[in-house]
């Protein structure tokens, strides 16, 4: 119930934060929203010697449009995503997903960057980022680099983010008109992680699916991009039968860990069912229903 001792730092700029990470290396952890890290520290499962609190770095917050892209600061809270009229109009899957994360209080502190960078397969934003073909700006002592979401996740709690780097921004291109999106998350109760969840971003032109991006949450060691499922739909008129086939493909990709949310069989089937529902809803929304 009480964390072990640590040294606390509250840098006011990204450069200062990186300097601290470079200085302390593995002994340091970033404090973003804190609702993953602090509970772990209270249970003494995590015992960093240094906490680098980046909540005071204003340049890391905010949502803006830039040359048609949407750019989101990593320290933007889930609640800010939900309230953003820009996102509601231009990328509704993000506020939709944010509203399914945790509870109202947690969403005031939890950040999109924390959810993306933590590496917990149960986090929701990684799958959303994959489905949006988003890229992440990682800044370190040697400068900044861009990494696409689909490359970022290497394993459970294991990403391309180095110990002396900070995720500063998330960027993705505009959604074409006639794009419908949906995030379907099955959970045991409000506030729980996903038993299984699927994101679908589907562009329909006339009757035909121009592009489909489908990704899965908590059905493997990382979020998963279901390319084989996408291939079933792309260039086709989407029928119930095709949706089923896509769901089957998604299920083939699933490699969930059995836990108190369900065994492998259940979670895999639920991955399929959430995929079905995400595609169906995305298609309905693309047609303006």
């Amino acid at each position: 119930m009480t964390p072990p001792s640590f040294q606390y730092h509250a840098p006011g700029s990204v450069d200062d934060a990186i300097a601290l990470l470079s200085q302390f290396g593995d002994e340091a952890k970033l404090l973003a929203g804190g609702h993953s890290l602090l509970p772990m520290m209270k249970l003494r499962f995590a015992e960093p010697e240094h906490l680098v609190d980046i909540n005071n770095i204003e340049s890391l917050k905010g949502i803006r449009e830039e040359n048609g892209d949407i750019v989101i600061g990593a320290m933007t809270s889930e609640n800010a995503l939900i309230k953003s009229t820009l996102l509601q109009q231009k990328c509704p899957i993000l506020p939709e997903a944010a509203l399914l994360i945790a509870d109202p209080q947690v969403r005031n502190r939890g950040t999109i960057g924390g959810d993306i960078a933590h590496g917990d397969p149960g986090n929701d934003h990684p799958a959303i980022m994959m489905a949006l073909d988003a890229s992440f700006t990682l800044v370190g002592p040697n400068g900044s680099r861009q990494v696409v979401a689909t490359d970022f996740y290497l394993g459970t709690f294991y990403t391309l983010l180095e110990a002396d780097e900070i995720l500063t921004e998330i960027r993705f291109g505009p959604l074409a008109s006639n794009t419908g999106t949906s995030y379907q998350k099955l959970k045991r109760k409000t506030g729980d992680f996903a038993t299984a969840a699927a994101a679908a971003v589907i562009e329909i032109s006339g009757e035909t699916c121009q592009s489909a991006r489908i990704s899965l949450t908590n059905l493997g060691p990382t979020a998963l991009r279901a390319s084989d499922a996408e291939a079933v739909l792309t260039g086709q008129v989407i029928t119930d039968d095709l949706i089923d086939q896509a769901a089957q493909k998604a299920m083939e990709l699933c490699d969930p860990a059995a836990d108190l949310r369900g065994d492998v069989e259940y979670k895999t089937h639920m991955g399929g069912e959430m995929t079905r529902r995400a595609i169906r809803t995305a298609v309905e929304r693309a047609s303006g229903e």
Partner: protein, 166 residues
């Protein structure tokens, strides 16, 4: 571990405490500042009994370090009544039997306080979604929902100025 000074505003009063970085805001408020209205019900940030208003947002004070409160405006249940006059929510919870053992009540009051400021005319479904970060074992929530509905009506009837004590 050496202590550092943290200054913030608690229920409109300036306070200063000496804390280790690891001390949680809930512990500092309860043990050092003797404001024991906010409660602890878990250690995994689920139950919401510790909910306070922090810079205009509902936050679980068990998941904030006291050092993070530097310069902040914090309101707890002890600050809801103004000059002895109960907030409409406090009155409504009594009118509608929205509490039994009282342990979740401060968190419910502080969360619903901010919730109604953000959504002054909520539907029942919105109230339930808005309060989903606060657990109760006694009431089954139904009278808590009624209490919030009653308070919303009272606040709206008397004009918005009454609602915010900030």
């Amino acid at each position: 571990m050496s202590k550092t000074q943290v200054s913030f505003s608690l229920n409109g009063q300036a306070v200063e405490v000496m804390v280790e970085p690891r001390e949680l805001l809930i512990h500092v408020m309860r043990d050092q500042l003797r404001q024991t209205g906010s409660h602890i019900g878990c250690e995994t940030s689920h139950c919401g009994a510790c909910t306070v208003d922090f810079n205009g947002e509902s936050v679980k004070s068990c998941t904030l370090l006291a050092v993070q409160a530097q310069g902040a405006e914090v309101m707890t249940v002890e600050g809801l009544a103004v000059n002895g006059e109960l907030h409409p929510l406090q009155q409504a919870f009594m009118d509608e039997h929205g509490l039994q053992c009282g342990y979740c009540t401060p968190g419910m009051l502080m969360r619903s306080y901010r919730f109604l400021l953000e959504n002054p005319d909520p539907s029942e479904a919105e109230i339930r979604a808005g309060m989903s970060g606060n657990l109760c074992r006694c009431t089954g929530y139904q009278n808590i929902v009624k209490s919030i509905q009653k308070a919303a009506a009272a606040i709206n009837a008397s004009g918005r100025d009454e609602a915010s004590t900030a």
